[in-house]
């Protein structure tokens, strides 16, 4: 690997770390955890057309859309003049799997070497890649992030449900803001209150429970897909907002499912290929721990009829086995068909599979599995939507409208 700017110890104090906007709710919480450890962070919010243009200029034509957007968002921010390139660093998550997504960070670095060679690009990973960085995620921090994901998921579920049905427009958003602030403060100040999950969950849930909802019957639309396009409004042209405006209720599976999918993947590989390693064992233990936490959240949520708890992960694995081997671990792998099946099974029969145009794993796990899932659930109404710098919103929305028309009355 050739030389690139490293994130050194003294940069911790001097540099501001820019974060791409992937999961607005979750990332804000994670950022407050990192801030508690002394890092200066900022979640990027720039979304103008020049983000795409910068991406097009700086990334290979055929690279996938998420890579293009992340690079574009960084470049657009840096060129805005708001940040001193000598005091700025970038961060990107890295999973290290067989999908080309594990190369995002290198694409960002390539771009920086050409434009701002002094800017270090930090890898946020949990697989021990790039040990020489001063950016360190300790075990307690990792645990905290796990909690941030749990809280983020809870907020996301409550928010999506309420804003689809709220009688007073904006009341869900207000509560979301309120809880983002409270949780952010807890994490930032190093308070331990987040550990008292049961109490926190209940307070959050009963708070959202108070929002008055209409009894209108709305079409529930599940969103699965490539992780970035699925969650990032920048990438999916504000898909959730569009669905709300079409009188639907967006149902977005929780991020924790993806985290658990990653953890369990390593374990599965170990068993599948007679190759049990230290890492696969640790991942196995980690998985059990996370699964316990998920169970807890699900159990608390069961007391609130309004909100549908996340899919039980063991159940997801069981569902996956009907359609695909859990050995499919590149990209979002077996998780996508499992989530599709689980959504349909729980009454969310309309599912959008959001993916970057030409996404390799999605040929197999999304487009490739739609047929078997439709056979198993004849009412399933699944549509794959491609996202791409050139694909127009009209085109995407027309396809979604077609799906909704199908949902309407056949």
């Amino acid at each position: 690997m050739s030389e690139y700017a490293k994130f050194t110890d003294d940069m911790v104090k001097t540099h501001k770390i820019l974060v791409p906007n992937m999961l607005p709710i979750h990332f804000k919480l994670i950022i407050s955890i990192l801030e508690a450890s002394g890092y200066k962070m900022e979640l990027l919010q720039n979304e103008s057309r020049s983000v795409v243009d910068e991406g097009l200029k700086n990334v290979h034509n055929d690279a996938c859309y998420p890579a293009l957007l992340v690079v574009g968002q960084f470049m657009d921010a840096l060129k805005s003049g708001k940040y001193d390139p000598n005091k700025t660093a970038l961060i990107m998550s890295q999973t290290g799997g067989g999908c080309r997504a594990s190369n995002y960070i290198h694409l960002i670095r390539k771009c920086m070497q050409k434009n701002y060679p002094q800017i270090p690009v930090i890898s946020l990973n949990f697989s021990g890649l790039e040990k020489d960085s001063a950016f360190k995620v300790s075990a307690p921090m990792f645990l905290k992030m796990l909690y941030a994901v749990l809280y983020g998921d809870l907020l996301m579920i409550c928010y999506n449900k309420c804003r689809a049905y709220e009688l007073v427009k904006g009341s869900a958003f207000k509560l979301l803001k309120k809880w983002q602030t409270i949780l952010g403060n807890i994490f930032r100040t190093g308070s331990n209150r987040y550990l008292n999950t049961k109490k926190m969950y209940n307070t959050i849930l009963s708070d959202f429970d108070k929002i008055e909802l209409s009894n209108a019957k709305k079409i529930k639309v599940g969103i699965v897909g490539e992780i970035y396009v699925k969650y990032s409004p920048l990438a999916n042209n504000h898909l959730e907002d569009f669905l709300i405006s079409e009188n639907c209720e967006p149902v977005v599976p929780s991020l924790l499912e993806f985290v658990m999918y990653c953890a369990v993947g390593n374990m599965t590989d170990g068993l599948l290929y007679n190759n049990v390693t230290k890492s696969s064992v640790i991942n196995g233990i980690g998985y059990k721990l996370i699964y316990g936490k998920q169970k807890e959240l699900i159990n608390v949520m069961k007391n609130y009829n309004k909100f549908d708890p996340p899919h039980d992960f063991e159940h997801l694995r069981h569902l996956a086995d009907k359609y695909i081997n859990q050995g499919v671990v590149m990209g979002e792998g077996w998780l996508i068909p499992a989530e599709m099946a689980s959504l349909v099974e729980s009454g969310v029969e309309n599912v959008i599979s959001a993916q970057p145009f030409g996404c390799l794993p999605n040929h197999i796990v999304a487009k490739g599995m739609a047929r078997t899932i439709k056979t198993a659930y004849p009412n399933a109404n699944i549509v794959a939507i491609d996202y791409d710098p050139g694909a127009t919103r009209v085109n995407q929305e027309n396809r979604i409208k077609l799906m909704l028309a199908n949902a309407g009355g056949i």
Binding site: V52, K114, G327, I364, G368, M369
Partner: protein, 974 residues
């Protein structure tokens, strides 16, 4: 007051209105092209309705892809168009099983029986009305004429219809080689059918009673015929309703009939007039701020005019240059001093030979008898044909021709960009020689012919259309992707109310951005060079030229003969060659010049290439369509070392030894990773007493055979072929097909990880999920890791437990490992021999780098033979990769196949007589990572980088230009 229901269908190219009464009977309908003037056309039709139905009111709905924005803005109910069609079908044809509807830019299928499903084409799908129009333009005819021709066709050529650009690259060579327009017309229709069957049906069979809808299907009989034949429908089951063009509007009216909101036409017109269509178009700067600025621009470029001489009065030597380009034909005649005696620039109309011979006649007729044509040269797609037909002295590669003429106008030129009809060619010049060449890949065209088609679609002539953009106040930002995407960007801009002027200017900038950032892949305009010459017909368009200067922030040289530069370069070349007398066909011979063309199948080998034979009346033949020398009529023994051939034959022949009394037949698909693992699995299974059956060699037919089970139309061609191989094995009656899933490939110890790409790793999962003939019994796809012996033994023991072979499995797998290693050793040894032989014969050596499955001749389309036909030897990436260490990389090196590319590239940089050509399958996402990296390894050490993108299309013409340019560049380097 009468009450009716009105359905308005606003498609991408047409507006349809239907009025029904309370019995749901159509009492009025109208069908009209809107030329992007959506709102005006709708109002026009409403006025017409007003005249006929005064004193009436209507319930109303809007449908159609272009109706969405208008309906929203006018607050009129909207129903999705496929759903409208569905409603109409339920009303009028309740017993059909499937509906196929082709519209202007959409294609749709509705399955009614066995689970209702409605589908639309993906955002990258051509094969629609607009595609047919575009192709008709290319043939220089109207679509109804094309339809009449198609009915007279004798044969069908394979043409890709996934996107217009691909199809063009299939059709253009056919045209240039003189294929009949009748046959091409039918082939275009067949392509549309194939696209619908594979792209839309995606694994569902279209059968039973089928209803056909939409404009193209109601007007084009040839298209109908192709659908009926391909789907094996009889008359009873293929329904073409009379009201097809307005069928969707009818459904929309039916949908509206359930509404309670009645409008008068006046009220409707008012609503539509005042519709607030959101104004979210991104706009750029105007090209020119004032007339004065434009005038200065014009006079600056005037400087690069050529001098003229009079054909009637000039006496002396003259030189002829011909550029038989893809969509245009250019010809010049120049004097000893480079003055222009005669020039010709015209659309080829698919008849380059007729075109040029006609011009020659004209020249002979008009020229001063004391002019002697001393030399002639030809370049471009039609080079071979013209050279053979008209006895031209030299055929030169386009890049060389362009460099010649560019340096005439700008001696210290360091960058040339040529945007022609469907090509963008750029080259950098270093030390007086072509240093690197960039051509647009099949997918990111959007060149000259694109603007032309667009201008026509909007009802303008090209020059008029371009002129409009010059003074646009707010050019629209249309993005910089491929044609199909630009189409929808334009549509969106129109919907948002952009003017034709703004769109024209926007298209000009798009083309420029596409060239700079996609084809050249420049990070900044400064990278291009200091002395830039622009040429090609597209730059004759002032708006494009200005957009280019604005984008790079630098003035450039555009010779006034910008469109003739290729031809001019040829003429200069002919002049420099200093021949005594040109061999070009003379006036007398030309009088009797005639030719006939016919198509035949080559019987030279099993490939059975379809050949096009043009016989010239004066004797002589020109044969095209052949993939190798055999078909060309010139028997040439080809002894040039070619590891592609060797490896391919070795893999095929590996399967020969079989047990006498096999315990069962195991099918192995000859696809993807098997191109490397056949030795392993053959040895493994035969050792245990199984017979291994490999599927037949790939051909276009393999693709068609499996087409109906492909769920994702954007996956790479090598993966698409697997479906056909599976069908083939099922037909052969094997006991089971064996196809393991492998996240990991062999660890060769040179990379950070040893993954397969997701497609290679898990394709069996997709196969069993989408091919109804497969089940867990006849298709075995275990997960395993070949690096872990224990794992292989365990998995295979479990898999074969019913065959009582368990105890031999460890021995069989060890033998299999050895067999695989030995096979690879043999390949490496052969490669070394090939290199040595080539060196003895002083040949250049090309490392044709791709993946193991690129040795499949249906995938590589015989590119390796094309290389050997130029006298160069060919070796594969995996046979030389072990000769070098992995260089320093800027990417994560984690795929086994791809990691070989880096090492092979590194090795090439150490060998003076080697160059690398990278084969990239369209849709390979991982190559988006590898190509830039391989390029930088090669270029950092002074090697040339050449990439060939391949897909189902077998257009060797473009590959040939690149290879010959590479050859020319290599010569220059020496």
């Amino acid at each position: 007051m009468n009450r009716y229901s009105l359905g308005i269908d606003i498609g991408s190219t047409t507006v349809k209105t239907v009025i029904i009464d309370s019995e749901k009977t159509i009492i009025h309908s109208n069908y009209q092209r809107h030329f992007s003037k959506v709102r005006e056309t709708v109002i026009e039709q409403l006025r017409d309705i007003q005249n006929k139905f005064s004193d009436s009111e209507f319930t109303v709905s809007i449908t159609g892809s272009a109706g969405l924005g208008l309906a929203g803005g006018a607050e009129i109910s909207f129903v999705q168009e496929v759903h409208s069609a569905f409603i109409a079908v339920k009303e009028r044809q309740p017993d059909v099983d499937a509906v196929i509807e082709l519209g202007g830019e959409d294609a749709k299928i509705i399955f009614l029986t066995g689970g209702v499903e409605q589908r639309m084409n993906g955002s990258c799908a051509g094969g629609t009305g607009a595609f047919i129009d575009q192709m008709a333009t290319l043939l220089g005819i109207q679509s109804d004429e094309m339809d009449r021709m198609a009915l007279k066709a004798e044969k069908v050529y394979p043409i890709a219809s996934r996107c217009g650009v691909f199809a063009k690259s299939d059709i253009q060579p056919l045209l240039n080689q003189g294929a009949k327009r009748e046959d091409i017309s039918a082939s275009i229709f067949q392509a549309v059918v194939d696209q619908t069957v594979s792209g839309l049906a995606q694994g569902r069979t279209i059968e039973g009673k089928v209803l056909f809808l939409g404009g193209p299907l109601s007007f084009l009989k040839g298209l109908r015929k192709a659908f009926v034949n391909t789907l094996h429908l009889d008359e009873e089951n293929a329904i073409f309703p009379e009201e097809a063009p307005v069928f969707v509007a009818y459904g929309c009216a039916v949908f509206a009939s359930s509404s309670e909101d009645y409008y008068t036409v006046d009220r409707l017109i008012e609503k539509i007039m005042n519709a607030n269509i959101n104004d979210n178009i991104v706009t750029g700067e105007p090209l020119f701020r004032s007339q004065d600025e434009y005038d200065r621009f014009i006079s600056r470029h005037k400087k690069y005019d050529l001098k003229y001489a009079d054909l009637h009065t000039y006496k002396g030597n003259a030189y002829l240059g011909i550029d038989a380009g893809s969509t245009t034909t250019k010809l010049v005649l120049i004097t000893e001093n480079g003055e222009l005696l005669y020039s010709y620039y015209s659309s080829s109309m698919g008849q380059p030979l007729d075109n040029i011979s006609g011009q020659l006649k004209k020249i002979y007729h008009e020229m001063n008898p004391e002019i002697t044509i001393k030399g002639s040269a030809v370049t471009g797609y039609g080079e071979d044909l013209i050279k053979a037909g008209l006895s031209i002295d030299f055929g030169i590669v386009e890049t060389v021709a362009h460099f010649k003429s560019a340096s005439y106008f700008c001696p210290d030129v360091d960058f040339i960009i040529d945007i022609g009809g469907q090509d963008i060619k750029c080259f950098k010049i270093k030390n007086g020689a072509i240093d690197s060449i960039m051509l647009n890949e099949a997918c990111s065209s959007g060149c000259g012919s694109f603007i032309q088609t667009f201008a026509m679609a909007m009802g303008y002539d090209i020059s008029e259309f371009a002129q409009l953009g010059l003074y646009a106040k707010k050019p629209v930002d249309l993005g910089s992707r491929c044609t199909v995407f630009m189409n929808s960007s334009v549509k969106q801009a129109q919907k948002d109310g952009a003017s034709v002027e703004d769109i024209s200017a926007g298209l000009s900038s798009s083309i420029i951005k596409n060239a700079i950032y996609k084809v050249i892949r420049a990070n900044s305009p400064d990278e291009l060079g200091k002395n830039i010459v622009v040429q090609g017909g597209t730059f004759l368009n002032d708006a494009v030229l200005r957009a280019f200067e604005k984008e790079i922030g630098r003035n450039v040289v555009r010779p006034s003969i910008s469109g003739l530069m290729g031809a001019f370069g040829c003429a200069l070349y002919a002049k420099e060659a200093e021949k005594e007398k040109s061999s070009v066909i003379n006036a007398k011979q030309l009088e009797n010049f005639k030719y006939t063309s016919k198509s035949v199948h080559c019987g030279g080998c099993t490939a059975n290439c379809s050949l096009n034979v043009i016989s010239f009346d004066g004797g002589g033949k020109f044969i095209s369509g052949n993939k190798c020398e055999k078909g060309s009529g010139k028997i040439k023994t080809n002894n040039i070392p070619n590891i592609y051939d060797y490896k391919y034959t070795s893999i095929i022949n590996y399967n020969q030894n079989q047990p006498e009394k096999p315990i069962a037949k195991v099918g192995l698909p000859l696809a993807l990773s098997f191109y490397e693992q056949i030795p392993f699995w053959h040895t493994f299974f035969t050792t245990l007493g199984f017979e291994t059956v490999i599927s037949d060699e790939s051909s276009r037919h393999t693709y068609y055979a499996g087409q109906h089970t492909i769920p994702s139309d954007t996956v790479c061609y090598p993966a698409k072929l697997v479906h056909g191989h599976i069908e083939n094995l099922l037909d052969k009656g094997v006991d089971f097909i064996f196809y393991p899933c492998m996240s990991y490939n062999i660890n060769e110890g040179h990379s950070d990880n040893n993954f397969n790409c997701p497609v290679v790793a898990y394709y069996p999962e997709l196969l069993i999920a989408n091919n109804p003939r497969l089940n867990k019994k006849n298709f075995k796809y275990p997960y395993m890791d070949l690096n872990i012996r224990k794992n292989v033994i365990k998995v295979m023991t479990e898999l074969l437990k019913d065959y009582n072979v368990s105890e031999n499995i460890p021995i069989a797998s060890d033998k299999a490992f050895r067999a695989m290693m030995n096979f690879r050793k043999d390949m490496k040894k052969k490669a070394v021999e090939a290199i040595n032989t080539a060196r003895k014969e002083k040949r250049n050596i090309i490392v044709l780098a791709g993946r193991p499955y690129h040795i499949d001749k249906e995938i590589n389309h015989g590119i390796h033979r094309l290389i050997t036909s130029l006298g160069m030897a060919v070796v594969t990436e995996d046979t030389v990769a072990y000769l070098a260490e992995t260089p320093e990389l800027n990417v994560l090196n984690q795929w086994t196949y791809h990691s070989r590319l880096y090492r092979a590239a590194e090795y090439v940089t150490t060998q003076s007589d080697m160059q690398m050509i990278q084969l990239v399958s369209f849709g390979c996402g991982i190559d988006a990572v590898t190509t830039d990296e391989v390029r930088s390894i090669l270029e950092s050490k002074g090697k040339l980088y050449t990439q060939l993108k391949i897909d189902e299309i077998n257009n060797l013409g473009a590959a040939k230009i690149r290879l010959r340019s590479l050859e020319a560049a290599m010569k220059n380097k020496k």
